[in-house]
C-alpha cells in the first residue's frame, strides 16, 4: 500500500492535483497566513542540517564551495550543484490555490522569509545551476532564471526546523475571511511524505501580537502562577501555625545538637 503511494507520488507522469474544501470557523482578518505542516520529518537530523553551504548561497563566485554538502555536492560530471546539499535538494514542492465561491484568493508569496535572509544570506546574483539534474530527484525544482534571493520558498525551507513536526510559511492571503466562508483549495500533491509515513497539513492562521495560536503559553503562566499562589498560601499558613521569630535566639542552640551528632 505504502509502496503504491510512493510510486504514485514519484511518478511524474501523473497529475497529482486534488481539491479540498474548508469552512472558515470564525472571522479571520487579513493577513491570513498560509502554512504547510509536515509531521515526522527530521529536518533537524544532523546529516540534514549540515548539508548546505552558506558561502555558495551568498556569492556567485563561490559556486565550488560545496564542502559539507555531501551527498548532493556535484553532478556526475563534476560541476557543482547550486544550491548544494540535502536541504535544498529536498525542497517542499506542493502548491496550493484558494477559491472562495468564485473569487480567487490570491496568495502573496513575497515577504514570507526573513528580510535579512533575502538581503544578506542569499545572493542576488546567484542562480540555481545543475539543480535536481541528477538521477535522484528529491523535492521541488527552482527557476534557474530567478536569483536565489527571490526564491522565497527555498529561503523559508532552508531555515531548518527544530522539531520533527513543523510548519513553514507558504504565503499570505491579503483578504478578510468571514465565518462560514467555504474555501476550495486546489493543491498539487507533489511532495513525497508517504515514504516516511509523514502527514502533510495545510494551516490557515492569523496572528496576534504574540504570534499564532498556542495555548501553552497561557497554560504555563497560569499553572506557574497557581504554583506561586499555592506556595505563598502554604508558607503563610505554616507560618501562622508554627512561627519562628525571625532572629529567634533559641535557634542557635541548635549548634549544640548539630555538634553532638
Amino acid at each position: 500500500m505504502a509502496n503504491d503511494k510512493v510510486a504514485y507520488v514519484q511518478n511524474e507522469g501523473i497529475d497529482k492535483t486534488c481539491t479540498r474544501i474548508l469552512t472558515v470557523p470564525k472571522d479571520m482578518g487579513r493577513p491570513i497566513y498560509v502554512y504547510y505542516q509536515l509531521d515526522n520529518f527530521y529536518q533537524n537530523h544532523r546529516r540534514y542540517v549540515r548539508s548546505q553551504n552558506d558561502a555558495q548561497l551568498r556569492d556567485a563566485g563561490k559556486a565550488n564551495y560545496t564542502s559539507d554538502c555531501a551527498p548532493e555536492k556535484k553532478t556526475s560530471d563534476g560541476s557543482p550543484i547550486v544550491p548544494c546539499g540535502l536541504i535544498a535538494w529536498s525542497l517542499f514542492n506542493d502548491t496550493y490555490s484558494f477559491v472562495r465561491g468564485n473569487e480567487n484568493l490570491a496568495v502573496n508569496k513575497k515577504g514570507i522569509s526573513w528580510k535579512s535572509d533575502r538581503e544578506h544570506k542569499f545572493g542576488k546574483d546567484v542562480y540555481p545551476k545543475n539543480f535536481q539534474n541528477g538521477t535522484l530527484i528529491g523535492g521541488g525544482k527552482l527557476d534557474p532564471n530567478k536569483p536565489l534571493s527571490e526564491q522565497e520558498d527555498l529561503i523559508v525551507w532552508m531555515r531548518t526546523a527544530a522539531l520533527p513536526t513543523f510548519r513553514k510559511l507558504y504565503g499570505k492571503i491579503e483578504t478578510d475571511l468571514k465565518e462560514n466562508d467555504t474555501i476550495t483549495v486546489t493543491l498539487e500533491n507533489n511532495y513525497n511524505a508517504y515514504s516516511f509515513s509523514g502527514k502533510k497539513k495545510l494551516v490557515l492562521s492569523t496572528t496576534s501580537w504574540l504570534g499564532g495560536k498556542n495555548d501553552f503559553l497561557g497554560f504555563a503562566y497560569l499553572s506557574f502562577g497557581g504554583l506561586c499562589f499555592f506556595l505563598a498560601t502554604a508558607f503563610t499558613l505554616a507560618y501562622m501555625i508554627n512561627p519562628r521569630k525571625l532572629e529567634d535566639p533559641l535557634s542557635l542552640s541548635r549548634t549544640k545538637n548539630l555538634l553532638d551528632h
Binding site: R46, V49, K121, R159, L163, F235, E247, L252
Partner: protein, 1229 residues
Amino acid sequence: MGRGGARRRRERLRWSKLYSFACIRPSVLLDADAAAAAADSLGGPGFSRIVHCNQPRLHRKKPLKYPTNYISTTKYNILTFLPKALFEQFRRVANLYFLLAAILSLTPVTPFSAVSMIAPLAFVVGLSMAKEALEDWRRFMQDMKVNSRKVGVHKGDGQFGYKHWQKIRVGDVVKVEKDQFFPADLLLLSSSYEDGICYVETMNLDGETNLKVKRSLEITLQLDEDEAFRDFTATIRCEDPNPSLYTFVGNFEYERQVYALDPNQILLRDSKLRNTSYVYGVVIFTGHDSKVMQNATKSPSKRSRIERKMDKIIYILFTLLVLISLISSIGFALKTKYGMPHWWYLQPQNTTNLFDPSKSLISGIFHLVTALILYGYLIPISLYVSIEVVKVLQAMFINHDLLMYDEDTGNPAQARTSNLNEELGQVHTILSDKTGTLTCNQMDFLKCSIAGVSYGRGSSEVEIAAAKQIASEASGTADQNSNDPDLWENNRGDSGSLEIEIEGGITYSVEKAAKSKIKGFSFEDDRLMHGNWTKEPNAATIILFFRILALCQTAIPEFNEETGSFNYEAESPDEGAFLVAAREFGFEFCKRTQSSVFIRERYSSSEHPIEREFKILNLLEFSSKRKRMSVIVRDESGQILLLCKGADSIIFDRLSKNGRTYEAETSKHLNEYGEAGLRTLALAYRVLEESEYSAWNGEFFKAKTSIGSDRESHLERVSDLIERELILIGATAVEDKLQRGVPQCIDKLAQAGLKIWVLTGDKMETAINIGYACSLLRQGMKQICLSATNNDLLAQDAKKAGKESLLMQITNALQMVKLEKDPHAAFALIIDGKALTYALEEDMKDQFLSLAVNCASVICCRVSPKQKALVTRLVKEGTGKTTLAIGDGANDVGMIQEADIGVGISGVEGMQAVMASDFSISQFRFLERLLVVHGHWCYKRIAQMICYFFYKNIAFGLTIFYFEAYTGFSGQSVYDDWYMLLFNVVLTSLPVISLGVFEQDVSSEVCLQFPALYQQGPKNVFFDWYRIFGWMGNGLYSSLVIFFLTIGIIYDQSFRAGGQTADMAAVGTTMFTCIIWAVNVQIALTMSHFTWIQHVFVWGSIITWYLFLIAYGMSSPLISGNNYQILLEALGPAPIYWFVTLVVAAACNIPYLAHISFQRQWNPLDHHVIQEIKYYKKDVEDQNMWKRERSKARQETKIGFTARVDAKIRQLKGKLHRKAPSSTVQTST
C-alpha cells in the same frame, strides 16, 4: 703548633675539664688489626664513601664525584616542565576526557567544530600550567637564596675566601663563624676553643633549643688557624648518605694513623654554630647527600578533601554521561536501521558508515563517540580552571590580610600553594610544634620562693587572661568591649591595675610597671629588688639562693659596651634568665676562667660591688635523665659547697632530714607556679667536708677517666652519691614566654571545636609546663603519662618489656576514661618519644589512637622529626579527619608534609618549615584568623561553587540530551557551536568566580565571635552527598523546565506577529537565553553577600549574552549562519521570546526559593540566625542577647582558657557549697 700556640688567646677555656658527661673523647687510636677490620666493614655496601680532605679536586671525577652542594626543591626544571606539567594536567580524568574529545573533534564523528572543543581546553590547561610554573618559580627563588649563602672555604696555600654554598664540594675545608649555619655535613677539625669543642644549635633538625656540644678529635686540634691547612691532607672512609641524624660511622686516616669517628664530630647542615667564634671542618656530605636533606621527603602534592570528593562527583557524571550516550546511540542505531531507509530526504542510499542504515551497528558505535563528545557539557570543563582561579584569588586575600601581617618581622601570611584553601575550613586536629611556634623560646624570670616565702608580684600571661575572663564572666555585667579583641590584646605591656574579687576571696592583682623591661627578667617585688632583700628575715638564705643562680651554670659572660653590663651565652634560655636575674639582684657573674667563676656582689644599691672568686671543683651538668645540675665550688673562705638545681620531684627526694624546713611551703608555691603556667626548678645546697669531698672526688675521677660503654652510668652513679642530703632553699619560676596571643588563639580554636596536639622535642616537664601556659592542661585535669620504662636489659627483651608495660598503661588508661562519669572530667595524654616508638607500631597504634582521641589534649614530648610525621599520619589515617600541622623548624618538615595542611611559621629561624609548608604565617595567633575566617569562608565558597557548577552543567547538558530524542538521536545540537563554547568560558564563569572569591555568609568579626560556626566545615555541612544530590536534582529539574517549557511555548505556530515560524536557531537561542537567565538568577539567590562586583558579574553576564547575540547577529552570515540578525530581527521584536524567558527563569528557581525559605524559617542553620540578628541590628539593640548567643555558640570544649575558667568557677562553687575553707590545692593525678 708552636707558632699557633703563641698567638692563641689566653682566655680560651678547656671545657672538657669541666664537663663530666658530654665530652666523652673517644679518640681511640685503632691498632693495625682493628683498623683493618674497620676498614673492611667500611669498604662494604653502605659504607663506601671516601673523602679526601682538603683535596676537593679529587672529587671532580668519578668514582669519587659526589653531588654538589646545590639543592633544589622545585618540582620541574626547564626541560621537564612541559612534559611533566602536561602529564600532571591530564592526570585529571576530566582533562583527559576533554583531550580525547578535542582530538576526536578533528574527525567527522564530532558534533561540534574542532575550535569549539580545542579552544576551551587549551585555555583551561594553559592557565593551570601557568599557575604551576609561577609557583615553581617561587620555590626556585627560595632555593637560590639558600644556595647563594656564603661561607669561608680553603682555597689553597692557607688562604680562605668566601664561596657560595652551592660551589662547595666534598673535601673542602670550610671555616664557619659564629651564628652561621653549616653549609653541609662537616667533620669538625678544630674550633676557637683550645680543646676543640663547639656549641651547636640543632633547632632546625630536632627542634631542641638547648645547645649541643660537639668536639673534634684530639689529633686535629692543632689545625686551628688558616695557615695550618696549607699542607693538610687526610682521608675519611665513612657510611653512605643516609637520613639517620644521630648515627655516623667512619674512620679518619691522618698521618698514617686511623681514628674512629662518631656523631660527636659531625656538624650537620642546617644546624647553627653558637657561642663559638669559629670552627674548621671538612665537608663530608653535600647538598642532597646531607643528612637533613636525606630526611626531607619529596613534598607530596596535596589535594583537598573537597577536591577528592569532587572527583567522585565527576565520576558520577561520567557514568551519567556514558549512560545517556548509550541510550542515545542505541536510539540512533534503531532509528537508523528502521527509520532512516524511509527518510528519502537524507539519501540513505548514499551514506558513509556514520549514517548507514544497513550497518546500523557500526553507525551506532560511531555515534557513541559522537554522543560522548556531545554530552560533554555535563562535565564542567572550566570547573578545574575556575577553581584554580578562585583559589589563587582567595590566596591573594590571605596574603594581603592586614590582620595576619606581622609588623615586627614584616612578614605577611602566605598561601604557598593555593590548592588547600578550603581544607583550612575543615580542620579537625591541629598538631603543633612547641618551640618557636607556641613559645618564643625566651625565658623570663618571674617569681621565686625563698625560704618558704614567695616573692614576685608579676603575673604570668595565663593568670592575667584568666583573671580577666573570670572578671567578665562572674561579675555578670555586660562586657562592653567583648566585641573587640581588647580582651586579648591587653597583656603586660600596658600600665594600669586590675583587681577582681570573687566569692572565694581569690584576688588577682595585676600591677603594671612602666619601667623599661629587661630581657629575660620580669620580676617585680620591692622586697628583693634594689638591695632591699638584706632587710628580709632570711637574708642569709637569700644570699645562698642568689649565689646558686649565679654559680650553677655553664654560661660565658660577654661584656656589652652599650649597656655597661654583661650578656650571657647560655646553653639554655632558662640558664640565661637565671643569670640575668642574679645580675639584677646584685650578683653579677662577670668572668669565667678555667677553674673559677667571678661574681660581683652588691648588697645594697649604694654599696660598691665586691668581686668574689669561686673555685669550680666539679660540674655535674644537666641531662634529661638526671633532671638536675650541680656544681661543687670552694668559696673564698675555703668552704666546699655543692649547689644544685633541678626538677622539684628529684630534689625533694634528695633532701636531708634537716633540709626540709621549707618543703611544705615551697611545694605549695611550686604548685601555684605550675598552675600559672611557669617552668619551675627547685634549688638546694649542701656543705661538704673537705675529707668527704676528696674521697668522693677520687672516685669520681676514676669514673671520669674510665673507658667503655658503662662509663656514663658509672659517672651517674658516682654523681648520685654526692647529690644527697641536700638542704632546700627555694624554687624559681620562669615563664617561657608564649608568643603573643597564643593562649587566646588556642582558646578560640578550642571553642571552634578543634583538637590540639602538641608535639615537641623538649623534655616532658617543659612540655607539661607549656601545656599549662597555653591552657591545654589545667589543674584538675586527669593526666595520663605514658613513658617507656628504662631498663638495661638486652635490646630485644627491653623492647618487649617496654611494649608490654606500655600496652598495660594504655589499656588501664582507656578503662579509666571509659568509666569516667563526670561530664566535665577532662583527660590529658602525655607521652614521651620512647613510648611513642612502641605506640606507633602496627599492633598498638589503634589502641593508642583510641585513647588519644578520648583525651582533651595530647602532648608528645621528645619526639624526633620522623615520629612527628608518623604521629601525624596516624591521626590522619586513623581518624580519617583533616589534620593541620604547624611548626617553624626543619624538624617539623616531615609532619608539615605529612599533614593534610602544613603551616610554617616564618619566624627568625631557617626557612625549611616554610618551604615545605602550604601556608606560612609569622605568628601562631594568626592561625585563628587563617582557620576561623579564611578557612571557613574558603570552604563554603568552594563547596557552593562546585555544587553550583554541577548544577549549571547538568541543567545545560541535559537539554542537549532531550533535544536528541527529537532529532532521531542524530547528534545534532539545538544550540549554535558558539553558544556552547561561550557557555562555560564566558557567560557563566564570572558570577561563579565571584561567588568563589567574595562570598561570605557572615563577616569576619562574626566568624571570630562565633567560633562554633567553624564546625560547619569539619562536619562538612555544605558538601555532603545530600546537598550535592540536591543541587544535581535542581539541575535536572531546571533542564526539564527549560527544555519543555520552551518547546511547548515556541512550538509549530508562528512566534511573532509577522507570521514566521521558529526555526532551530530561534528555538535554540530562546532556550539558551532561558538557561542564561535561570543559572544566573540561581547564583544570585545562592549568594548571601553582594557588593557591586557580584552585581556587575551576575547581571553583566546576562547583558553580555544579549550583547554577544547582537554582535554575533551582525557578523557575516558566513559566521553566524542561521543566527544572522537573530536578536534584532527575529527574537527581539517577538514578545513571546521575553515571556518565555520570564516564565522559565522563574519556574527554574521557584523550588530553590521555596527550599531556602523553608530552611530559614523552620530549620535555620547557625549562620542564618546570625545573619538575621545582624540584619536587624539586634546585636546593637540587645547586647545581652548578643552576648548570650555568643557564649552559647561556643563549642563545648575541655581545653583552653574558657574551659579553665569554667572549671575554676565550678571548683569555687563547689567550695562554697561545702562551706569549708579549704586551702589544699588540687593536684593533678
